[in-house]
């Protein structure tokens, strides 16, 4: 264990993060809001802490691959806690630290679950800051999912390692993490810019367009309004949101390959994208059918399409109170969120590629029963997937389900909630989705502090792909 060097790296991250706190200050100045001192204090505290951690430890060691687990967890946990400062310090919010931390981590993990209501009346700098957290978290995920997790081999993500054969293989996706990260960040920033511009053209105000582009591309789901995207009541804006949610739910590695080869047809050839399209179509058809039949929705097609894309990709924007729809629909949507978007995107959930591999493995088992001597390799895009990957995907799935049930039971133990609330709250947090059903359909304010911390843990688990966080909880990790 190289604690000094890990502290240093965390210090660098904090210092960098403190600089981003200057942008809400700018927003506060532009709109002449009283939040300037709040952000200034948070900025100074973060900067000083960061610099101290960066400069104090004496170490010339280098970071090793195994330290990636701790650095990754510290990145989210550290930034999440420090990021809670501005919300905690801003008096009019009357926020407890628990609430501030919940909001901050929900932002950074791109969950988008909120404990605040009356968003429309909050200062714009605070709203901007929340969405900025979403955006920064998304940025972290890109690197995490495309560069770090494949290197650590978490949950079958070694499939995306540059050197191993996989569905998305391109030599231009450089093996050096810094280079890869840079390339993907350009993409991420580019996509955000395009999204903001599209929102603006579709009729959003400039401030809302920027804020929403942050939370759309990060698949976060924070909005500047209590009614979320529904506030605008505009088909154009909803279409833009749908388009960019879908784009952001696709592997950024794949985006990179498509951009560098200038061939959009590659999207269609990617098995994961096809699986995602298939799932969205099936869920979409069911939801539209149910809604049209029951007559609960004034515009079933429009509302269903938006909600299916928003929930399935784990974004969490809403245009309608979907928890009030016939109970089959919200349940189906939450289940679809378990599958989530593509690996290597900003989406949460189990990830489409894992679901696809589980399906293929199940199919293989059936074929083995029919042909006991048959040899059936699992193939993605014509490439064989090593059995090791299938194994890790299975254990990932098992751990996911097990932890989900455990956390749900934990929630029951902490507080008196109904099943729907517990199921959807833990599901929405673990899948980094955001809005739940029942008591947490609007926001999570009603839950006690213990339940909130449990949900924070769920968000981190989901975001860090379970094993990255779990491995830190094993004594062996610290003893090695």
């Amino acid at each position: 264990m190289h604690l000094p060097v890990i502290i240093r790296v965390t210090g660098v991250l904090l210092t960098l993060f403190s600089l981003t706190l200057l942008s809400p200050v700018l927003v506060a100045v532009i709109y002449d809001e009283s939040t300037v001192p709040t952000f200034a204090v948070a900025f100074v505290i973060t900067l000083v802490t960061g610099l101290l951690m960066w400069r104090l430890p004496r170490s010339d060691q280098e970071l090793r691959a195994g330290d990636g687990f701790l650095v990754t967890v510290l990145f989210y946990l550290g930034l999440g806690l420090v990021g809670a400062l501005p919300l905690y310090l801003f008096d009019p919010l009357e926020s407890s630290f628990t609430n501030a931390a919940f909001e901050s981590l929900s932002g950074l993990t791109t969950t988008g679950a909120t404990v605040y209501s009356g968003l429309d009346d909050l200062p714009r700098s605070i709203l901007f800051y929340r969405n900025l957290l979403n955006w920064l978290g998304g940025m972290g995920i890109i690197v995490l999912a495309v560069a770090i997790l494949p290197m650590l081999g978490v949950g079958g993500m070694q499939l995306y390692r540059a050197e191993s054969p996989g569905p998305v293989k391109d030599s231009k996706l450089t093996p050096r993490i810094t280079e890869t990260a840079k390339a993907l960040w350009y993409l991420y920033v580019g996509l955000t810019g395009a999204c903001a511009l599209s929102y603006w053209v579709a009729g959003m105000g400039a401030f809302d367009a920027i804020c929403h582009s942050f939370s759309t591309v990060a698949i976060g789901g924070f909005s500047t309004h209590d009614l979320s995207i529904g506030f605008f009541d505009s088909v154009a804006i909803e279409s833009v949101a749908i388009a960019f949610m879908l784009l952001s739910a696709i592997n950024f590695g794949l985006h990179f390959v498509v951009v560098s080869r200038r061939n959009p047809l590659l999207y269609l050839r990617d098995p994961e994208v096809r699986a995602l399209a298939f799932m969205l179509t099936v869920v979409g058809v069911i939801v539209v059918t149910v809604l049209s039949r029951e007559g609960d929705s004034p515009a079933p097609l429009r509302e269903a399409l938006f909600q299916v894309v928003s929930i399935s990709t784990t974004t969490g924007f809403t245009t309608a109170n979907f928890s009030g729809w016939p109970s089959a629909v919200p349940m189906l949507l939450i289940l679809a969120a378990f599958a989530g978007g593509c690996a290597g995107s900003t989406a949460g959930g189990i990830k489409m590629v894992r679901v696809l591999l589980l399906y293929l493995q199940g199919q293989r088992e059936l074929r083995r029963l029919i042909h006991p001597t048959g040899i059936f390799p699992i193939k993605l895009a014509g490439q064989r997937v090593p059995n090791r990957v299938i194994e890790t995907v299975w254990s990932f799935f098992a751990a996911y389900v097990f932890l989900f049930l455990t956390l749900m039971t934990g929630l029951f133990l902490i507080t008196e909630v109904d099943f729907q609330t517990a199921f959807s709250a833990v599901g929405a947090c673990m899948n980094n989705l955001g809005p739940g059903l029942g008591a947490v359909a609007e926001n999570y304010a009603a839950l006690p502090a213990g339940a909130k911390w449990l949900l924070i843990f769920a968000m981190l688990l989901g975001r860090l792909e379970i094993f990255t966080l779990l491995v830190l909880l094993t004594p062996e990790f610290w003893r090695r």
Binding site: H371, T373, G374, I375, F376, R384
Partner: protein
């Protein structure tokens, strides 16, 4: 004509044997001295012991005045280098090499005289695969041969009791299928050729060779057998090069299972094939075959590299109820032994390869040669040149041409049009003429027929 053959393996040996009987001067080069002695004992050929691509060995073998080089060693690289050496040092006019690795074959531009000077590439596995694919596409055929880029086909069919034409004279074929033009090129009855005329009556068990345009072949075949249902389920025993290629070619058309013994190879096969079911096991394992419902399979193709396994698994499969078995058999003696018994079709890799080589050693303009009945008969696609004065065929009706005994003309291809040969058809210059020779001894006479006479110039 002086021919150098490098590699005295199965292909090289068979080729030498076939060509030596036709008065070519054959020199065989190999590093295996025993094998050379063995062949020299039997055949009238010269042998040189040494490494086939070394210039000194080639010089000793008489590469200086060789007309044709055929490099058919096991190694693609040796074959390529031998061609290169002969091109650079000895200016050998025609160079033929066996290239097996698909990777070399993917790029056409690789083998050109300024880079790798090889005039003709032969690929035995490819040839055999194509042969079996044709058989699978035409159930009931013993052999399907393509001419003129597949526009005309010659099929060999065994007449079976119940076929509409069986027991009838050939001329009634017109009445049976009036819209289709076809011609019976030859009939083999109990292994002997008989020259078919309009009055010849087809008997059960006759092996009938028929020429027709490709699209009519299935209809014509149905005259000699009860209508065969198309194949649906195909089992391939052996996942070597041939097995893999075969499965890849037909997996979209049939439901295919491949049985392969070697487990790592199975994994490789399963990776390369999409719809095929790859089974790891022994093709001669009765339980395995039963487990896979062998009795419901239409065709069983044994294509391992072991003749004995091929024969035994085919016999077993046939006994268990497969409709048709096709067996790859390298050893000549075995072919004679099994054909006509339980094994429906014996495919000889040597014969397939020899055919593709023969078209390059024939004099005159010959586009395609198919060796038939283990080399005893031959089907030739020759191109007619010249005019009525210089050629013995051009400008004449088919009835007027003085064909050697046992030879018949099956069809003509003029530009893209297929003309079935009737006595009143006149041959024009540049026509592709498809001839059937039931006796190979007549090859020289046919070659002479198609050569443009020089006396007139």
């Amino acid at each position: 004509m002086k021919i150098l053959i490098i590699g005295a393996g199965q292909v090289g040996g068979t080729l030498a044997e076939n060509l030596a009987s036709e008065a070519f001067d054959i020199t065989l080069i190999d590093i295996n001295a025993t094998r050379l002695y063995e062949l020299k004992d039997r055949l009238d050929i010269q042998t040189v012991h040494g490494h086939g691509s070394h210039p000194d060995v080639l010089r000793r073998a008489g590469a200086d005045d060789a007309d044709l080089l055929v490099a058919v060693t096991e190694s693609d690289e040796v074959n390529i280098v031998a061609c290169q050496v002969c091109y650079t040092l000895f200016q050998t006019p025609t160079k033929i090499a066996r290239i097996r690795s698909a990777s070399y074959l993917l790029r056409d531009s690789l083998f050109q005289s300024e880079h790798m000077p090889i005039d003709v590439l032969i690929n035995p596995e490819g040839v055999v695969t194509e042969h079996i694919v044709q058989l699978l596409k035409h159930p009931g055929a013993l052999q399907v041969l393509n001419f003129a880029e597949g526009r005309v086909q010659l099929v060999a069919v065994r007449a079976v009791f119940g076929g509409p034409l069986v027991g009838q004279a050939i001329k009634t074929l017109r009445e049976h299928i009036p819209k289709v033009d076809t011609r019976v090129a030859a009939i083999f009855r109990r292994g002997r050729p008989i020259t078919p005329t309009g009055d010849t009556v087809i008997e059960v068990d006759d092996e009938v060779f028929i020429v027709a345009a490709s699209e009519h072949i299935d209809l014509v075949m149905s005259e000699l057998r009860r209508v065969e249902k198309p194949f649906k389920k195909v089992v391939i025993a052996g996942g070597g090069n041939i097995g893999l290629r075969l499965a890849r070619e037909v997996e979209d058309r049939f439901s295919v299972k491949v049985i392969e013994f070697n487990e790592p190879r199975c994994v490789e096969l399963a990776e390369k094939l999409n719809r095929t079911v790859v089974l790891n096991g022994d093709a001669t394992d009765r339980e395995l075959l039963l487990e896979e419902n062998i009795e419901q399979c239409d065709a069983f193709c044994a294509v391992t590299n072991d003749d004995e396994v091929n024969i035994m698994s085919s016999l077993l499969a046939k006994r268990l109820g497969v409709r048709q078995v096709m067996t790859l058999i390298g050893k000549r003696a075995y072919v004679d032994l099994v054909q006509g018994g339980d094994i429906d079709i014996a495919v000889s890799p040597q014969q397939a390869t020899t055919s593709s080589l023969l078209s390059h050693v024939r004099r005159g303009d010959v586009a395609m040669v198919h060796s038939l009945r283990r080399g005893a008969a031959e089907a030739i696609e020759a191109i007619a040149h010249g005019d009525k004065r210089t050629s013995k065929v051009v400008g004449r009706t088919i009835g007027e041409i003085d064909l050697p005994k046992g030879t018949s003309i099956g069809a003509l291809v003029r530009d893209d049009e297929v003309l079935i040969a009737h006595d009143d058809v006149i041959i024009e210059t540049d026509d592709h003429v498809i001839l059937f020779l039931s006796d190979k001894q007549q090859v020289a006479a046919v070659e002479k027929l198609f050569q443009v006479g020089l006396t007139f110039f």
